[in-house]
């Protein structure tokens, strides 16, 4: 300890000397070197020294270290941006020696640098910068070395909300303080928090060798339950969200099948491959954008959606005209024929684009997520898919129940002969309806390409799921499909939370088998006099 203070005193002296020489870059060469090279412990100690004195040049230097743009030689430290080197000490342009080596940081060093930067930003004049700094520090581990900086920030802070969060940060850093009163105060302050890191911190103090005072242990246990209560909401909402997210994917993959199988009665085993074609179309559109319009890359998805609809619908129409129309009313033959087609399509894609998965990059606005509470992040790509599923559902519903085409489809489904007598071209309606189902499958493929892998086998992993949803929901009912998709999604995710992914899948399948035994017509049965019944 004594040695440390001596050294920091020495460094402070050196810093003062340098400050006189170059006021803008108050970081001397020895100090910069100490932060940049050496073993982890020494580097972090040097960094914390510099933070405690809030050296003006430190922020730039720490940021450069985080960006991996610092190089060192035996004597000098340089910051390199776009092949232009700057001396890290003087800030003057410099020529980079050939033997300069990259400074590499590991997680521990990066964490310390990030903490240091946030510490420096706590006293920034901008409210937003200060808030971001507090956010960062709250997420990380409490660091007693930051206490002086936090204390300074509390003294200056004017925003009441931020001030109370700073107090909590201070408390987190003081939770292991030697003074009992300080510890008690820290625990009481922290019990108002709703942060997972605080929960972890309190819990770790409950370890047998951490907190020995019995009264304080009781306070700790009480604080943990309080924090837990706040965290529980985030967890429950999280399960709900993941369930809805899985449900939206199931809905997308099953909606097309609800039309081809549900309304038309065609057991289409190639449904998955139509999705796969949609996903490959998305990949193709993405490549076109990357090649011809890299600036508009983030918008490729807007074109990929209609493109995947059109391509899959066209393939569907060809299938219907070429094969399926000869097999209406013969379910077994349809099943075999479409299964064969699915193999042909898969092998075709394999020969054309290779057996390996192709790479579909998310548009940049789809990465990351929105933090609703401290322990609940909703990823943008999942939100986008939920919204997309809702839109597709709405459009399909409108088409089936509000348009002339939809009326014809329903008419042909209910009584083909009578519909034909009223002058409906039933074969044309069949083709259009099948193409519509195929097109929706294509759009589902486009959505899947944003969350999963795109390969020739993509359809195989979803075909069972989609039949499950349609059969469970009740054949011929859009509402049933929606309910079944969301129900299965939620059920799957809740079970996954309890039993793990492998067992959850088994339970869901068993549930469906039992359910279909008891109620073969599914959740919703067609009411009224259907032609077949």
């Amino acid at each position: 300890m004594r040695r440390l203070t001596l050294r920091s005193a020495f460094i402070a002296l050196a810093a003062v000397l340098v400050m006189v020489a170059a006021p803008a870059w108050a970081l001397d060469a020895a100090q910069a070197r100490a932060i940049a090279v050496g073993d982890g412990d020494a580097r972090i100690a040097a960094l914390q020294d510099a933070v405690a004195r809030a050296d003006p040049g430190l922020a730039t230097f720490a940021q450069a270290l985080l960006d991996d743009s610092v190089k060192t030689t035996a004597t000098g430290v340089f910051i390199v941006h776009d092949d232009k080197a700057v001396d890290a000490v003087t800030g003057q342009p410099a020529r980079l020696p050939d033997d300069a080596e990259d400074v590499s940081n590991n997680n521990r060093m990066r964490g310390a640098l990030q903490t240091a930067l946030s510490g420096l930003r706590l006293v920034s004049p901008e409210l937003a910068t200060r808030r971001a700094a507090v956010d960062d520090l709250t997420k990380g581990d409490a660091d007693p070395a930051l206490l002086p900086v936090i204390a300074k920030a509390i003294a200056r802070e004017t925003d009441a909300g931020l001030k109370s969060r700073l107090e909590r940060l201070k408390a987190a850093a003081q939770i292991a303080a030697p003074d009992r009163a300080q510890r008690l105060q820290a625990i009481q302050l922290l019990s108002n928090s709703g942060e997972p890191t605080v929960r972890a911190l309190l819990q770790s103090r409950l370890a047998p060798d951490a907190e020995t005072d019995l009264e304080l242990r009781a306070a700790l246990a009480h604080a943990v339950t309080q924090v837990d209560g706040r965290l529980a909401w985030g967890e429950r909402l999280g399960v709900l969200f993941t369930g809805i997210s899985l449900g939206s994917i199931l809905l997308l993959v099953a909606l097309g099948l609800a039309i081809t199988y549900g309304l038309m009665g065609v057991i289409n085993m190639a449904h998955g491959e139509l999705m796969m074609i949609g996903a490959y179309t998305t990949w193709g559109v993405q490549n076109l954008f990357r090649h011809f319009a890299p600036g508009l890359f983030d918008a490729y998805i807007l074109l990929a959606v209609p493109a995947s609809f059109v391509v899959s619908a066209a393939v569907g129409a060809i299938l219907e005209r070429g094969v399926i129309r000869f097999l209406y009313g013969r379910p077994l033959e349809t099943l075999l024929a479409t299964w064969g087609i699915s193999l042909v399509l898969m092998q075709g894609v394999r020969s054309l684009f290779g057996a390996q998965n192709v790479e579909v990059e998310n548009p940049s606005w789809m990465s990351g997520g929105i933090a609703v509470t401290s322990n609940l992040v909703l990823p943008y790509n999942r939100l986008a898919i939920i919204a997309f599923a809702a839109l597709v559902l709405l459009a399909t519903w409108a088409l089936i129940s509000r348009t002339r085409l939809g009326l014809f489809v329903r008419g042909v489904t209910q009584n083909r002969r009578m519909a034909s007598c009223t002058g409906i071209n039933t074969t044309r309606i069949d083709t259009l309806a099948f193409a519509l189902g195929a097109g929706i499958a294509g759009m589902a493929g486009c959505a899947l390409s944003q969350v999963g892998n795109v390969g020739p086998d993509l359809g195989q992993s979803y075909i069972v799921d989609s039949f499950m949803v349609v059969v469970l929901g009740g054949v011929g009912q859009l509402a049933g499909t929606v309910l079944a998709a969301l129900g299965l999604g939620l059920m799957n995710k809740m079970l996954e939370g309890i039993a793990g992914a492998v067992l959850a899948k088994i339970f869901v399948l068993i549930f469906i088998v039992v359910f279909i035994q008891k109620r073969p017509q599914g959740l919703f049965a067609l009411k009224g006099r259907s032609a077949e019944s």
Partner: protein
Amino acid sequence: MTTSRRSFSLTLGALAAFASLTSMTPAQAADTIKVGILHSLSGTMAISETVLKDTALMTIAEINAKGGVLGKQLEPVVVDPASNWPLFAEKARQLITQDKVAVVFGCWTSVSRKSVLPVFEELNSLLFYPVQYEGEELSKNVFYTGAAPNQQAIPAVEYLMSKDGGSAKRFVLLGTDYVYPRTTNKILRSFLHSRGVKDEDIMEEYTPFGHSDYQSIIAKIKKFASEGKKTAVVSTINGDSNVPFYKELGNQGIKATDVPVVAFSVGEEELRGVDAKPLVGHLAAWNYFMSIKNPTNAAFIKEWSDYAKSANLASKDKPLTNDPMEATYIGIHMWAQAVEKAKSTDTDKVIAAMAGQTFKAPGGFVSTMDPKNHHLHKPVFIGEIKPDGQFNVVWKTPGPIKAQPWSPYIPEDKGKKDEPEKK
């Protein structure tokens, strides 16, 4: 009647003998040596295994350009077992009995290796297996050029527990549901116990092959991490599931400085399709990284880039090398050296000649085949993911270490011999 039947069966025998002679003659007279390549070129493992097929072809071309082995050119026979484990055994049998290959280079997942093992033992043929695995196996017919647990998994967890690795106290063992992750996690659990980590600080989770929805698992990891002390994740997820896993990890904002994830089956190739910026600092443990700087590695990377261009591979614009590729490269070279030494491709003679073979590996060390246990002595590196999808080596062993196929952390292994039983 009896005589005629006997003479008939005699004639049949003679015919059969003649037939087998004629079928053997061309194989022996031919001036090529056939070698089999058994990697999945489709299905969930294609993401990892396809490059190994290309690496094998490149290495064979390199050996052929230098005059081949025993003065003969090597002739590769490539088959696709399509990530289908029973098909691996079928294809292996086909390679050995129909194509009459002298050796097979192949397999990635342990379940595929377990599936072909009886075939190689029955037909007394040779398999070179290039991927890190769980140990607990030692066959006279297999050479393991990947890492055993003590050459990858255990050093990685030791690093996580060290100060520089973040002093982790709680561990999530996350894997795909099959033999490699289950066994590795069994070893790790027992290792963690020996370091004083209790069962309540270990969470084990498995997902099926090809799993693509990691939302609830990531949520579970977050919850587990908030229940006390520093948490780290040890991932043995295999195949293309890694892409959605890492995407979800990035989207959910789990940073390496909070909860580091160390992976045993993720290398440069698996990260190709992933935006690596949110993943900076997450770790991988291997015996080789592309970013290692030394002349042998520079030559290896150049050879691969040139090959990717000349063979017009899909990856030619961004050629990447990784650990199993290095292991494949070492394996084929060592086999060629052993054949030269034994002056024959006969299985037993090559096995004897393999003992103690050395090869200057791109990893920067001389890899030695152990005289007894069929495993390589390898160095261990731990790397952190960089924004460009490469790895920054943050820790390494001072030199190569000897493999322990029978882990001392599994009680049943006590007293097992460090060499194949039937030799």
